[in-house]
Symmetry: C2
Subunit: 399 residues, 2 copies
């Protein structure tokens, strides 16, 4: 017998954070906070204020007064609260895709005598496509790992692909389909033992899984902010470069914001010595402020507490799905999963449509996966139960 | 004897547009709308509504309901109202810098047997830096034109640099320092006669100068939207690819948004047949809506009428500056200048600081230039007169 959800909500130390978000009362359940996080109330206020007071009121003066520094100051806040990164290594810039591109070039520059980029075939498409593009332009070869969907990249599988030819390994800490959480410290150490560089994609883990990039001696990382960092559709991405690599990390999109002196307008390009070297063009000011609000909510709650609630929410969802005898493709071990749970069903597309019509928003992933994102700061146990009840109804309980 | 400014304002058919912007009453004059445009009232409302209703209310459904198409639909609107571009050739994406990078690669792919990129040494730093980076990575050579600041790139100067080795020419339609407006159709034809490809940077002309990319058979163009398109600090850029080049235009930042089917998550990358191939990562939705509002204001006024007011404003400014016998580095011929006027003065830095303290915002450009941007939709003749009076006071009249 499952515990009633309201009992779980009453015991939840983070329950109050739900009131800090816009919750649409017409929705029965939003189970897609891992795709687009809900709107924090503070963000709505901050954006209005920024537009009226700062853009409208300070105009060009805003750049000198504070905007110029935002990519780095918000990067540092995110680094401290979310990534376990000391200052000066994280910056807000562009999209995850553009940042992966930059880091692939930077990483390959650190291993000029090696020829292979290793990536798993189950990785998110943008990671795979960009690895292929950069490998092609630099005369490198892509080596594909072929993991099981649920187990994803294990140390054994990784080891089978590593060699003295491996320059770079690209891995996602949480798999976007199964929700599998990889062992970042162990895999990083294994990659380093082989003399290679790792780029971690943290899109599905940032803000919901404790990450300690500095302690694990990660080389490079990227991630988006519109999932568990609740920063809005198309919010800017972050990028991390370990301090020991900074001076040697070159990226090819050498726009004026990567130059040592932004306003010198000098004849010759001189790259910034700091993490600003990873910037390219003018940063989106309002959008970075939305990230700052999202990060501050996470910092206030603490990633440790968020992680505990995430484990409880996913465990609860698995219990309900097991009772209905649905097929799960997410690891049972809480230490091996992120914050979404995925059901495999031959009618997944139809079920997702029907759920949506009933006010429950899941995420369909081709060809047969129903992804249920449980975003701890804004998702209650009651909401989870209500949403899964509708899923179970349409998926055919006890089939 | 100069006409009194209020007489000019009374006769100005676009005078009413000033009320459509937030005008900070504490400022005497904002003469930097060519660096960061003022805030349109409609944009403030649209952004608030978007954040609350669409992000907060529609959540993930927003992508399918409309957001996915925004880079192209707003690109088409901008193309029609501002660029003289038929649909399907313009897209909102990334920053100007990232887009220049993409287009340099696309252009060099169209001329694989040629080895030189031609650019003027007075071009904006980001253009120059990116040309150097891409030339380096593709084994090409940069050839520099050395124009006079005021004349900028003439047909003769351009011709002196073109040869059968020239693959690409990068030019800015309006020079960011002098305000010189280049003859886009004639220069484009000359470049094509030499068998080369042109990339036009329209940052200082988009929204204030009539542009007819299709008629001039321009190959590629980019530009920002935070100047005369009033779309906010760090607003996304636009990118234009002539339809005849689309199928052959490859760019290396092949993120998932450039793929033929965004949600197929397919094993192999297949590039979109449309202009979407120039996208990379998830687009910034709110920021693109701000562009849409800015473009609609320009469309409503019409670039022809905006240009007429721009010519009148800059002529008026030149008249006042001439009376004060200040040195001007902007062409006298209205057909040869954009919408800013630039004064050269040995104490330019000090003067700009003093002007700012008196509530007049100009733009200082190293080492000795004072740039005065006159944004026709939001700048009145009275404001121009008030601002220049302060400049003239500090610059030393009749020295």
């Amino acid at each position: 017998m499952t515990t009633p959800p309201h009992v779980l909500d009453r015991a939840d130390p983070l329950a109050g954070f739900r009131e800090r978000f816009v919750i649409d009362g017409e929705l029965v359940a939003y189970l897609d906070g891992n795709s687009l996080g809900r709107l924090p109330l503070a963000t709505a206020d901050r954006l209005s204020e920024f537009v009226r007071e700062e853009w409208g009121g300070r105009l060009i003066r805003g750049w000198q007064e504070s905007w110029i520094e935002l990519p780095v100051t918000v990067g540092d806040e995110l680094g401290a609260a979310v990534l376990g990164a000391a200052p000066g290594q994280t910056v807000m810039a562009d999209s995850t895709s553009v940042n992966i591109y930059k880091l692939l070039h930077a990483a390959s520059g650190l291993r000029p005598d090696r020829t292979e980029i290793l990536i798993d075939a189950t990785n998110f498409p943008t990671d795979r496509y960009l690895v292929e593009s950069v490998a092609d332009s630099r005369g490198m070869t892509v080596r594909w790992l072929e993991p099981d969907l649920v187990d994803n990249v294990t140390v054994d599988l990784l080891s089978s692909g590593l060699s003295e030819r491996t320059a770079i390994v690209v891995l996602s800490q949480v798999d976007y389909r199964s929700g599998t959480l990889l062992d970042l410290p162990t895999l990083t150490a294994r990659i380093h033992a082989a003399g290679a560089i790792v780029i971690w994609d943290l899109c599905h883990s940032a803000g919901v899984v404790p990450i300690d990039l500095d302690r694990a001696a990660v080389d490079f990382a990227v991630g988006c902010t519109y999932k568990y960092l609740n920063s809005g559709p198309g919010a800017p991405a972050f990028l991390y470069v370990a301090e020991r690599h900074l001076a040697m990390s070159g990226q090819p999109i050498t726009g004026w914001w990567s130059a040592a002196d932004l306003f010198a307008m000098s004849d010759t390009y001189q790259v910034a010595p700091s993490i600003r070297r990873m910037l390219s063009g003018t940063p989106p000011v309002a959008a970075i402020l939305a990230v700052q609000e999202g990060v501050r909510l996470v910092a206030e709650a603490g990633v440790g507490a968020i992680r505990r609630k995430s484990e409880a929410l996913t465990a609860y969802a698995l219990e309900l799905l097991d009772e209905a005898e649905l097929e799960i493709v997410t690891p049972r071990d809480p230490a091996r999963r992120g914050s979404h749970v995925t059901v495999r069903h031959p009618d997944a597309r139809r079920i997702c449509l029907e759920m949506t019509q009933r006010g429950v928003l899941p995420d369909f992933r081709e060809p047969d996966l129903i992804r249920l994102g449980l975003s701890p700061l804004s998702t209650s146990f009651a909401e989870t139960a209500a949403g899964l009840a509708v899923l179970i109804e349409f998926a055919g309980a006890r089939r």
